[in-house]
């Protein structure tokens, strides 16, 4: 049992730091923070990372992965978060790509994977429907065969960033005669196809991230079907474990905790730094200790994955604890903001961190719902880890 960094690990850390210093510059930072330039800046950021060869460390090496050790992945995530640099958007790299390289055909791999790496296509996820949330397999969006195409009808909802997307990966129903998990297929759909309509949904954070995506007689070539027709549920399930592991966000929470501690050192209450208030300290260290534990839980999962095992039901634990910690941190930042806790303005009103407090807190309520609600994750652990029927 050993978690010390080797000389090679330390050299790698230096290389990551040097890269971040150069590639994540002030100009890019400013453009990422501005709504008007966000999309282009996010794409450019991924291209800079891809030019370094680090856009998709977890992919198999033959498709552009890095073959990093668990320690290297850990170092990269920590350095990136500490520098404040954003993660790559997960929809292409972490969600659809593993399905394409695991279950797709050669033509699909060649067509889509390089474009995903370089962020040439912006992807979004078409899973949830107005009538299918936690019970995802009850989805009703239909795809009917018509010659060499499918004709898709129905609606997807809670689709993050659909307004920017070039492509959507969808679960669609191709057969409704048997069990609801059977008869689902995995389709890749070009968002420019006639019949697709994106309806914005303004969130409780007062922002536009979520959408409803309508499909009215949308014609999709059969060449865009992944694997076999009616077998999509199996593919999607394999992907969900990747998604949950990605949601834990340990490195980002570490950065957030350090930032809150730093802010609380500047905020005064009764003339004394809030950071020395015993109740604040209790609240902060409650979270910190859980986070220190989760960091090692994640390392244990990473170390297991590095020895060849796929993420299994333990990724549900990462998702539950990771999102609980995120929400606790959001609450703490809001508490620290005091009077400024609700500010909703882009004008300078005397506090530079509170707008984030409101936005993160409100949008953050989704974390225990998306990726399979935390209650669904508990069902998974109960069934597959504890063997409860």
């Amino acid at each position: 049992m050993d978690t010390t960094f080797s000389a090679e690990d330390l050299a790698f850390r230096d290389e990551v730091r040097a890269f971040l210093t150069e590639a994540y510059d002030d100009d890019l930072k400013a453009r990422l923070a501005d709504k008007a330039t966000y999309k282009e800046a996010q794409i450019e950021w991924q291209r800079r990372v891809n030019a370094k060869g680090w856009a998709a460390p977890g992919w198999p090496a033959e498709y552009g992965g890095c073959s990093w050790s668990a320690t290297q992945s850990f170092i990269y995530e920590n350095e990136r978060s500490a520098a404040g640099a954003p993660d790559m958007l997960p929809f292409g790299l972490k969600m659809v790509a593993p399905v394409i390289y695991t279950f797709g055909n050669d033509e699909q791999k060649q067509r889509f994977l390089p474009r995903i790496l370089n962020s040439d296509d912006w992807w979004c996820q078409g899973y949830s429907e107005p009538g299918a949330g936690s019970d995802l397999a009850s989805l009703k969006t239909r795809a009917e065969v018509d010659g060499d195409d499918y004709i898709v009808n129905g609606a997807k909802i809670w689709t993050s960033y659909a307004q920017y997307a070039d492509w959507i990966f969808c679960l669609v129903r191709t057969d409704s005669s048997g069990k609801k998990q059977d008869g689902i297929s995995f389709l890749l759909i070009d968002m420019k196809t006639p019949g697709i309509k994106v309806n914005p949904i303004i969130g409780i954070d007062n922002r536009h991230t979520l959408n409803e995506v309508e499909f009215n007689n949308v014609r999709v070539p059969k060449a865009n079907l992944i694997g076999e027709q009616d077998k999509g549920w199996t593919y999607a399930k394999a992907l969900l474990a990747h998604e949950r592991t990605a949601i834990a966000g340990v490195a980002a929470s570490k950065k957030e905790l350090a930032e809150i501690r730093e802010i609380a050192g500047r905020e005064l209450s009764g003339g004394i730094a809030l950071s020395s208030d015993p109740l604040f300290q209790k609240n902060l260290t409650d979270i910190e200790i859980e986070l220190m534990a989760l960091e090692y839980t994640e390392l244990r999962v990473l170390a297991k994955a590095a020895s060849g095992a796929h993420p299994g039901p333990e990724s549900s634990l990462l998702k539950i604890k990771g999102t609980e910690i995120q929400q606790a941190l959001q609450k703490l930042r809001l508490d620290v903001a005091g009077h400024y806790a609700g500010i909703q303005t882009e004008e300078a009103v005397g506090n530079e961190y509170a707008d984030k407090a409101r936005v993160d807190y409100m949008y953050g309520r989704a974390a225990t719902v998306y990726g399979g609600s935390n209650e669904v994750q508990k069902n998974i652990i109960a069934k597959f880890v504890l063997g409860l029927k």
């Binding site: 049992m1 050993d2 978690t3 010390t4 050790s69 668990a70 320690t71 850990f74 501690r261 015993p278 300290q281 209790k282 902060l284 260290t285 409650d286 910190e288 200790i289 859980e290 220190m292 534990a293 989760l294 960091e295 090692y296 839980t297 390392l299 244990r300 170390a303 333990e314 634990l317 539950i320 604890k321 209650e375 508990k378 069902n379 652990i381 109960a382 880890v385 504890l386 063997g387 409860l388 029927k389």
Partner: protein, 375 residues
């Protein structure tokens, strides 16, 4: 980075697990608890023969030269069996202090390893709660030696120990960090009066009254006035050890509870099929895994820088207290009425977890120190 055990470590783990399985079932454990000494001399002899008592000691002292992970493995397995034999008191605490002592004192390590010497570390006092620096016991210079006066309480293994290591103030005032010294004291020396009693987890402890007990300067363990750092260092090791014991206990409680709900039927079905109960057991599972992660973290950071290592050990102790309470409470709740009985082992595991919480500083105390170290 890896979380694997070496082949040797796996053998050790298997060997302890086999002992617990074959010779320390709940019935056997109850018999041991009923013994006057609070442990079985035969079992202690077995521990010596299997080499377990030598594990943390350096090879130059006749030990196995093991590291923190070796002790961790052993303690986790002992925890699963609620083993009462005083490995923590004699080997980890008393032995750990001997290892840090002078050559004359290190010569006793051989007797510890062969199982012929029982030891105890007497540091807590009535007023001290968990503050190691709060020492009212006085050691007054007296010719070539010192004269000790004071009282130590809840001394683990204190009732049967042959030798004690006692903290006493050689200078400064009661709460000063400097001015504390440690002395090796024969438990049968003139002026030592022991009152042995039981804790609810079955272990035998003692209050020890020291009245004009005479020791020589050769009995000083470590440097004069510098005892606090020694105490902190050995208690830090012991905290990781009881953290491992707690993880063993929590896993056992979690597994026992899950099994019980698979067989216990109400309303015509196994109660483990109810979602409300399943989610409670998932909380138990997560509490166990998170505590194990902090155990590994503390074990791995023992070689890292001191401040980080201290925080990791304190985080572990906080989690052991809080997650241990959750797991214990849920085990009771899910067992229902039968969980209330003394004849079921569940209550005994929970009581040991509760005693581990108060040992070396409970969750609140540890969290406060953790927060202070954060700056």
């Amino acid at each position: 980075m890896n979380f694997d055990y070496t082949e040797e470590q796996n053998m050790l783990k298997d060997s302890v697990a086999r002992f617990v399985q074959d010779q320390y079932d709940f019935e056997a454990r109850c018999k041991v608890a009923a013994l006057e000494e609070g442990y079985s001399a035969d079992n202690w002899k077995t521990f010596a023969e299997l080499g377990w008592l030598s594990i943390p000691f350096a090879e130059e002292h006749g030990g196995f030269g093991g590291n923190v992970v070796d002790t961790m493995l052993l303690m986790e397995e002992l925890g699963k069996g609620l083993v009462l034999e005083p490995f923590l008191a004699t080997v980890v605490l008393f032995g750990g202090l001997l290892s840090r002592g002078a050559a004359d004192q290190q010569q006793y390590i051989g007797s510890v390893i062969e199982g012929s010497l029982q030891g105890a570390f007497a540091y807590a006092e009535r007023q001290s709660r968990f503050n190691l620096n709060d020492v009212a016991t006085q050691a007054i210079a007296n010719g070539d030696g010192y004269r000790l006066n004071g009282e130590k309480i809840v001394v683990l293994n204190g009732a049967v120990a042959d030798k004690l290591i006692v903290s006493a103030r050689t200078s400064g005032s009661q709460l000063d960090s400097a001015g504390i010294s440690l002395f090796l004291v024969d438990a049968n020396a003139k002026g030592v009066a022991r009152q042995g009693y039981r804790m609810m987890d079955g272990q035998k402890v003692a209050n020890i009254l020291l009245q004009d007990v005479e020791v020589t300067s050769a009995d000083l363990v470590g440097e004069l006035d510098q005892g606090l750092a020694l105490m902190q260092s050995v208690i830090s090791e012991a905290t990781v050890a009881v953290g491992a014991e707690a993880v063993g206990i929590m896993d056992k409680l979690q597994a026992t509870t899950v099994e019980y709900t698979k067989t216990r039927e109400q309303f015509g079905v196994a109660i483990g099929s109810f979602q409300a109960l399943q989610h409670r057991m998932v909380e138990m599972f997560m509490a166990c895994e998170q505590t194990r992660s902090l155990l590994y973290r503390a074990a791995c950071s023992q070689s890292a820088d001191q401040a980080q290592a201290d925080r990791d050990v304190l985080a572990l102790k906080v989690m052991v207290g809080r997650a241990g309470k959750l797991v214990g409470d849920e085990a009771f709740q899910l067992h229902g009425g039968i969980g209330m009985t003394d004849e079921l082992d569940v209550g005994h595991y929970v009581k040991r977890l509760m005693m581990i919480n108060t040992l070396f500083g409970d969750a609140d105390f540890s969290q406060q120190r953790f927060a202070e170290l954060a700056g």
